[in-house]
């Protein structure tokens, strides 16, 4: 056992290193379309991890995630832009995350009192309220047309195409630069969220979900942890909002509607509730799949090329159908999401690897039970 543990750990480290290397190398090989898909996926993953913490781990249904994403995105734009205080963009980004956390904190008196589906409806109100404010508070949000997003600048390095940069013969535009920003922020999310989940707060949140009474008599301050879950989740949403704003380069109110909240719920359910890896997988699935399908649907049979109207279904509709079918299939066959599916595949692989019996050496192998059983008379 003492020998195997470091080896397992080395394998895990090696695998993680390989993944990081591949992710860092991708901008040198992929064009802007793919990088943008990756960037949206990373931003969504950050937000989904936050919602996973709140709804998956702590069991508090939230339909208001879009609101906190909007606070992050618009907070950054307003704090860094004109009109607005025009703060240095890096400061604005940090403040926007804190602002989203504060918004979550303001909501916590409600979150501490209302449970289950009622909490879902209460958070729904946040989305409508937020959308209305975004449309009407012209001086801050730019109204219906939204506002353009000032590019992030850290220590003189701009995450935009303002300055020319070529690395190893590859021109580094905004997408390439933002890719690394996204990777970095996602790494921070991954690290911190897993730390929370595996530590004392994570166990308290799980207890909150499984039984509030048990949590309380074990010493968990229930109302405090319920609101803390909201604050932390909103901070991740704020971070995702900043990243989304930077990727879109323009924020508009209609993006931050109820559909976005539902998308995030779909991410954590498809990925598998309660795990960081699951939320990430779900985020990539929900973000990338519709974009990819729209792009490649015209190559499917029976789908018309874009722009033609000869009675067959268009690529956008086909993409929607396929996306819907994929969700239904996942929920039907792996109710514990992509994360559960991966876990089961891994367990099967491991047992297959352990299975090959070098005949004679191991304990008496089991008789072919199925054949023997079939001959027994049924009682």
């Amino acid at each position: 056992m003492s020998e195997r543990l470091p080896r397992a750990r080395a394998i895990r480290m090696g695998r993680a290193l390989a993944v990081v290397t591949v992710l860092c190398a991708l901008p040198f090989y992929l064009d802007a379309f793919w990088l943008r898909i990756g960037l949206f996926s990373m931003a969504a993953a950050v937000g989904a991890v936050g919602l996973g913490l709140l709804s998956g781990t702590a069991g508090q249904l939230s339909l208001g995630h879009a609101f906190f994403l909007a606070v992050g995105a618009y907070g950054y734009v307003w704090l860094a832009g004109e009109p607005g205080p025009g703060l240095p963009t890096a400061v604005a980004a940090v403040l926007a995350v804190l602002l989203a956390g504060a918004a979550g904190g303001l909501f916590s008196p409600v979150a501490g009192r209302v449970r289950g589906i009622y909490l879902g409806v209460a958070t729904l109100a946040l989305v409508f309220l937020g959308h209305h404010v975004l449309l009407t508070a012209d001086s801050v949000t730019g109204g219906f047309n939204g506002r353009s997003v000032p590019p992030l600048e850290v220590g003189g390095f701009s995450f935009s195409t303002d300055s020319e940069l070529t690395l190893l013969g590859v021109p580094f535009g905004a997408e390439e630069r933002l890719w690394y920003l996204g990777l970095g922020l996602f790494a921070v999310t991954w690290f911190t969220a897993r730390g929370i989940l595996r530590g004392r707060p994570g166990r308290a949140l799980v207890a909150l979900r499984d039984s509030e009474t048990a949590a309380a008599v074990m010493g968990v301050n229930v109302s405090r942890y319920r609101s803390a879950a909201f604050v932390v989740s909103s901070m991740y949403a704020g971070l995702a909002g900043v990243l989304l704003a930077l990727s879109f380069r323009r924020v508009v109110p209609d993006y931050f509607g109820l559909v976005l909240s539902v998308d995030y719920l779909a991410m954590i359910v498809i990925g598998g509730l309660g795990s960081v890896a699951g939320a990430t997988a779900g985020a990539v699935f929900v973000t990338a799949l519709p974009l990819l399908m729209t792009r490649y649907a015209d190559q499917l049979p029976l789908v018309a090329a874009p722009g033609t109207t000869d009675g067959t279904i268009g690529p956008t509709e086909a993409a929607r159908y396929l996306y819907g079918a994929a969700i239904v299939l996942i929920l039907l066959f792996t109710p514990d999401g992509l994360h559960g599916l991966a876990r089961r595949l891994r367990a099967r692989l491991r047992s297959r690897r352990a299975a090959p019996p070098p005949s004679g050496t191991t304990a008496p192998s089991q008789p072919p039970t199925s054949a023997a059983r079939a001959k027994e008379p049924t009682p």
Binding site: V206, V217, V220
Partner: protein
């Protein structure tokens, strides 16, 4: 790590009354749990035993009366504050949380540890050290309760008896001075019962805590308890040593109905 050397404080329940919309679940109930003793609370179904536990652990506020643990007044405290003062309980129906046995026991260490969201998110050294120390203690308690072999196994995969034991161990992880056990052997077979009795004995000897026990298994109550309080319809009808209670006519009437006074309640 933190093994108490002094005797646990005395638990005093004075004139506690609880009403649920016209129904009096507890009617001026008083009893005292002597430091380090096993105090059994018995009575027919609906007598108010579980309500009494809920009052003690803060899940239910009494209309009148007080609950004191040593010098501390527990009557109006929130459950998590009462837990922090050293009162731990198990539930009649098992309430474990998802995860391994280790996760469940570590939940029991919640009140004794400090690290919050930020420290764990950044994986600060102090948070990791704290976690390691408490994990060591949780492992010790798992050994004490016979769960060492299951420490890293998800709770859902354990048998009923083992899951009940997980709850018991989780309560012990709080390092309580008073342990409330709500039907610890309900639904267990004879071997599991014997083992649980043994564990309660060990725990009492090694950790020196007071135990309040609700149980229908009279044989177990008679063997374990130093003192017995009998409730019926929310009132205390008898009180004393197991032998005194066993021959009390009121108790026999409550358990067996009138006219069956000669039968042994056990």
């Amino acid at each position: 790590m933190t093994v108490r050397t002094t005797a646990p404080p005395e638990l005093t329940v004075t004139d506690v009354t609880v009403r649920f919309a016209g129904l009096t679940a507890l009617d001026a109930v008083s009893f005292t749990v002597a430091p380090g003793s096993v105090h059994a609370l018995i009575g027919p179904n609906g007598a108010g035993k579980s309500t009494c536990f809920n009052v003690l652990s803060g899940l239910c506020r009494p209309a009148t009366g007080t609950v004191r643990l040593g010098d501390a007044d527990l009557t109006r405290l929130a459950p998590h504050r009462i837990a922090a003062l050293g009162m731990a309980r198990t539930f009649q129906n098992i309430v474990t949380t998802q995860g391994t046995v280790a996760d469940n026991l570590m939940l029991g260490r919640h009140a004794l540890s400090r690290s919050g969201f930020a420290a764990n998110a950044l994986r600060l050294p102090q948070a990791r050290r704290e976690q390691r120390e408490h994990l060591d203690r949780a492992r010790e308690i798992a050994e004490l309760t016979g769960l060492a072999g299951h420490f890293d196994i998800p709770v859902d995969l354990l048998s009923y008896g083992d899951r009940k034991r997980v709850e018991f161990a989780r309560a012990l992880c709080l390092e309580p001075s008073v342990l409330l056990l709500d039907e610890p052997v309900a639904g267990m077979n004879a071997a599991e019962r014997a083992r649980t009795v043994e564990v309660v004995h060990t725990v009492r000897a090694e950790l020196g805590l007071s135990v309040v026990l609700v149980e229908h298994d009279m044989g177990l109550v008679m063997r374990l308890a130093d003192e017995v309080t009998v409730l019926d319809f929310g009132r205390r009808i008898a009180h004393g040593t197991p032998d005194e209670v066993r021959s009390d006519p009121e108790v026999l009437r409550a358990y067996l109905g009138t006219g069956a006074g000669q039968e042994d309640a056990a």
